[in-house]
Symmetry: C2
Subunit: 719 residues, 2 copies
């Protein structure tokens, strides 16, 4: 029996060093996928299947097995394949054939079993087109010779292995193969034109099926999230772990946020700059306290070309140490205050925890504002002004509610004076998420970096120096993750119109095999005309006039991508001088008279934006529970709620709350599944305190520890 | 005699490892500065001076020398200093005192000589406030104990050395000291108020003098360029060599370019994305030919926190290898074409040649567009469309003329099909500069990365695959350097209004010591009101109402910063219901009736923008010489001209031209001074060919080699 080890050895002889994993023995792909998903892997991989089929052969003839190497997701129809290859009755090979010809078992079939075949000329080798079309560096998972082991090789490496066998293979497009079948309950035998239409419809239906989100939001949230992001074409995975590609749909959200926020701060007098991404060791190390938290995650450049750098250089994790020596240089007088700059850039934090698109990535885009003021009062005023803008980003652009408040001493910025935050909420997991922070740094950094001005109130003959008061504030692409998680549904992404790359899509409907070309063209032209009108009045519209896809396919296509409004135009609509609209967020259908197209669509988009916010806010509001006794705390958390309760504002109590609200995690649970059992963090001391039962000093007690309560505090499990 | 080595040893004992340089012996700071400027140094440094003065002492008393440690640029007045310290007649110490007390010579005085002083209590130690105020990591140059050696220590290290002496020093603001002197030919002894005004005026005049550009554009272009950039507050130097800080004035130029260009390409259907900055080794190495040019300049991240990465990761020098594997994944069908994305980001190229702000930096901001098309025709069409946009960036935003054309085979993008370019010109050096490139990559990359679609023209039963045709196009912050170099003058920066952060500044004038507070306030209010009106109609305006600076100081302040229009308002203007305007570009003065303020200012700004372009174009046009015989080629180059001449389009001829037009460089010349003698490059084959003497195939000969000329080619020395 060819062993796993033997296969690894033969791969190594081809200079292929595959990564391997051990796991429970699995009997089929479903179990295998489940087993793999519990294990940490460095990068995404494609699960494969290797099928060994045997066509009907005369008793006297030698068997000519068919080996099919395919992606697990590809539907492989044995009969259709046999037909294509001119072989009859292809059925799965039995255990004897597997053992005799391939030296393997049913549970452990892989392409590498081909190394064991004595006479390869008797084998038909078939490889899935979808697999071959993957980029060379994509990773494939195989089960070579053992049901409790998996080996990972890249597409290129597999090709190299197959090439080493000197065995030609047939590249089969299983999708096309399936499409060649007549549709179930389909059109009667018809003219070639009808057949062509039918083929298109099936291809479309098949594509529709492949495109759908395969996981339900409430059932498998992590996989749902991944699929929504990739299938909507917001994001793609990348071969450097923790880094992701922001495709136009995602990048557009960031652009809209950028335009809004940059416009607002420019109006306030803040000026944009750009500092280098590199920080010298010496400068970074200067601020040991502040940088302590960041140090383990700093990425270091040590080489350029083939030479070592004299001194390693860091990539900024945040720019305080980069900028503040220059604040000291540039700020000479109180007349230089307030001094306010901002930059849009990316930062790098080489985290070792499981990365998650948008929420935890090693490189992310953000803005960081850094300002200096003469007085604490001036600084504080700006802290709140900026926080209000952050709130608007969420409420007005992303249609998401946030709670504004002050962070506890434990949770605030290390080295700062106080931190204000906007806290978001993900209902599906019942977890809060810090959405942006505006810090008052006090004078800590100006004392570290010696940023001083002459006190204008002091005598010019005996001038006193004062250290400036500083703020820093930042908002990142994490915002996009929150938006997807809250608004998305089982059909896919749902975008608020204000940040949608495409706000409305015009789709021609009602064309049948009976429609003449002239009528079809008229319909297409009418659709294009509608789109032109809408574009003119500022709506981001597209018209989907692709001739080879059915309306159903198109509906699916644009729904997955979260397009807020679908505008259908069919012969009936044309007759009635109207368009039929469908909202992505609710599915509601309504009509708009053609002459009111512009105002009707603009109104609809505004309504959608507003309604999405209202719904999200209602869900969030019902998820904040007032807790008056400790017994109710953990059950509320486990019920996916956030808690608002009187609190003593003591760090020891905060630590205690976290411990007492953590549950023992289930073994083998991935971090995100484990999240429901992590301890609660303090989220913020909300600016808006409850008025029905105000805190009475000395009377109201902290729900967690019984000491005097200072104010209401928001608690919850958090990202 | 204390030797250089002894001093180095004593510094090392303080854990200070200074960098040192040897050079010709120098007798004074001027010679020292000249000697240093010929040597390569890693980063900018401040030249210092250490003065040893001796006040008049009674013959019987011990000498109490004054040691002054200052920046070379600080004006140190010995008499004023003596007055401040209460010492009489401070003069430079003679050679005997230098030898006896400090064990040093006149040519080699440095603070470190203090280590040799037997009794420090007899020394007055004075340190320049300007020096102390520098950021701790700024580098200072000293001459310790040897006139042919320089040692470099940071401000922090100097402070540490002084602290080790346990000798207190006096922090003296020499600027204020100088200001305390009555102005030359100034006001007669007056009331305290007048004295205060006089003091302000002198301070202002002094500040004005300090602020000015100390080098003439035509005399010392490199130093002029550095000073314009730093004194205008466009840019600051940074402690990682080759990296610079873009301050708001510079960043605003890039913002305007971004807004214009992104708007235009979005209209064309290009979508913005963001790919990770990191590239895995494996992917980068894939394209050995393309990447060959970039490999020596790629920066590698090898560590995160304190652990080594499993595999080093590169920072993108350009994103072809990052993106194109995804093109292969995402482009499945000809219906996906044209596929057009763009990103705004920074790239890193760790060059080893002398860096220069904007023109050659290790990190720079740019946009890179990458597109795929079904046909060469479609691709080519876009190449020219983009090049036209690049031209507009220069002509319409930056008021700069460029020549559009095609690069020679030698100069085109490695691995591409053909490259088009916009070529700029810097009159002061007579050098061309590549301003932006739009490449057609052909099918080279789609073949490398397997980016294929089904040919829609082929039979669906026997589909043929075709490789897509690709383009890539990029424009960077180099644009800003060209703008500064062409438009700037001896007063400083000159900004085209379309990219100016501040387009107009309102300055109150005519206030004297006789003006009542009420009248002064009225004037300030009137200025603020003008600014408000202008802001309302979209002009980027500021009003400079700072009370402690003279109009002259303010004029200087805003002129250095390149502010296109100055609007003066004085009592006479108020009387005549007008404002007086002064153009930054020409200095021309004119008035605008107050009721026509908005239209008058907007018109003025448009005129300035237009005139700046016209002047730059005229200068550029007269700098392109038609050459008909080789003897005229090099003289024209040396006369700071570009050459347009019939050319054979052969690479060997191009190489030959480069050799023949290089001159032996003068020894010791820095690279930029050496530039005037470098060989000429081919710049482009201009789209606009001369019509007066068109090339006659087979008749017109190449001016360089005599073979048949194919077309006119533009040649020149280039950045």
């Amino acid at each position: 029996m060819a062993t796993f080890e033997a296969i690894i050895t033969s791969l190594e002889q081809l200079s292929i060093q595959p990564k391997t994993l051990s796991h429970d023995a699995v009997a089929d792909n479903k179990a295998w996928i489940a087993a793999l998903s519990t294990l940490p892997t460095e990068q995404p991989y494609h699960v494969t299947k290797t099928l060994i089929l045997k066509p009907k052969t005369a008793k006297s003839a030698a068997a000519t097995p068919v080996v099919v190497i395919a992606l697990d997701a590809t539907e492989t129809n044995a009969t259709a394949l046999g037909k294509k290859l001119g072989l009859k009755d292809c059925r799965f090979a039995n255990e004897d054939l597997l053992k005799d010809t391939f030296a393997t078992t049913k549970d452990a079939v892989s392409p590498f079993a081909l190394s064991n075949v004595a006479d390869l000329s008797l084998i038909h080798l078939v490889v899935d087109t979808q697999l071959l079309a993957l980029p060379a560096t994509e990773v494939l998972a195989f089960h070579p010779g053992a049901s409790d082991k998996t080996v990972f090789v890249t597409v290129d490496q597999l090709k190299a292995y197959l090439a080493s066998l000197k065995k030609e293979f047939v590249d089969v497009d299983f999708k096309a193969l399936a499409a060649a079948k007549p549709p179930a309950g389909g059109a009667p035998k018809a003219a070639p034109k009808a057949k062509k239409e039918a083929k298109k419809e099936v291809a479309a239906a098949d594509d529709g099926h492949q495109m759908g989100i395969e996981y339900k939001k409430d059932v498998d949230f992590p996989k749902w999230y991944q699929q929504v992001l990739t299938k909507s074409e917001m994001l793609d995975y990348y071969d450097v772990s923790g880094c992701y590609i922001l495709r136009p749909l995602a990048y557009n959200v960031w652009k809209e946020i950028t335009n809004f926020f940059d416009g607002a701060i420019t109006e306030m007098g803040v000026e944009d700059t750009y500092f280098p991404m590199f920080v010298s060791n010496r400068v970074l190390e200067r601020e040991k306290d502040h940088i302590e938290g960041f140090a383990p995650e700093v990425a270091w450049v040590t080489k350029a070309g083939s030479s070592d750098l004299e001194e390693p250089i860091a990539i900024r994790p945040t720019s305080e140490t980069v900028m503040y020596p220059y604040f000291a240089k540039w700020i000479r007088s109180h007349r230089d205050l307030p001094f306010r700059i901002n930059q849009w850039c990316s930062v790098v934090r080489w985290e070792f925890k499981n990365p998650q698109p948008f929420l935890r990535t090693r490189e992310f885009l953000w803005q960081e504002g850094h300002t200096a003021h003469l007085t604490l009062k001036d600084a504080t005023s700006e802290v709140y002004e900026i926080l209000d803008l952050y709130e608007k980003v969420y409420t007005d652009l992303l249609a998401l509610p946030v709670v504004k408040g002050v962070k506890s001493e434990k949770e605030r910025f290390a080295g700062g004076y106080f931190t204000t935050t906007v806290e978001g909420f993900i209902p599906t997991t019942g977890r809060a998420i810090q959405g942006g922070t505006s810090h008052c740094l006090g004078q800590n950094f100006s004392k570290m970096f010696d940023i001083v001005v002459e006190d204008p109130a002091s005598d010019s003959n005996d001038p006193k120096k004062i250290h400036v008061w500083q703020n820093s504030w930042g908002l990142s692409t994490r915002t996009i993750g929150v938006m997807v998680m809250v608004h998305g549904d089982d059909k896919g992404l749902v975008l608020p119109p204000r940040v949608a790359l495409t706000q409305a899509v015009v789709i021609p409907c009602g064309l049948t095999v009976k429609t003449s070309k002239a009528d079809a063209d008229k319909l297409y032209d009418a659709c294009a005309d509608l789109a032109k009108r809408l574009k003119k009045c500022g709506v981001k519209v597209k018209s989907d006039l692709r001739e080879n896809y059915t309306p159903g396919f198109k509906f699916n296509h644009w729904e997955i991508r979260g397009t807020p409004l679908r505008i259908e135009l069919g012969p009936k609509d044309i007759q009635q001088n109207q368009v039929t609209c469908v909202r992505r967020d609710t599915g509601a259908r309504f009509t708009i008279p053609v002459e009111q197209l512009e105002s009707g669509v603009q109104e609809a988009l505004e309504t959608i934006q507003h309604d999405m916010f209202v719904r999200a806010k209602a869900k969030r509001d019902e998820s904040i529970i007032r807790v008056e006794q400790w017994e109710d705390f953990v059950p509320a958390l486990n019920d996916k709620k956030l808690i608002l309760m009187p609190w003593c504002d003591r760090m020891e109590c905060e630590d205690d709350i976290k411990e007492r609200s953590a549950r023992t995690s289930n073994e083998g649970e991935e971090e995100d599944e484990r999240a429901p059992s992590m301890g609660a963090k303090s989220l913020c001391n909300p600016f808006e305190q409850p008025t029905d039962k105000p805190i009475v000093p000395g009377v109201t007690k902290c729900v967690a520890c019984g000491q005097d309560a200072k104010h209401y505090m928001l608690f919850g499990r958090s990202y």
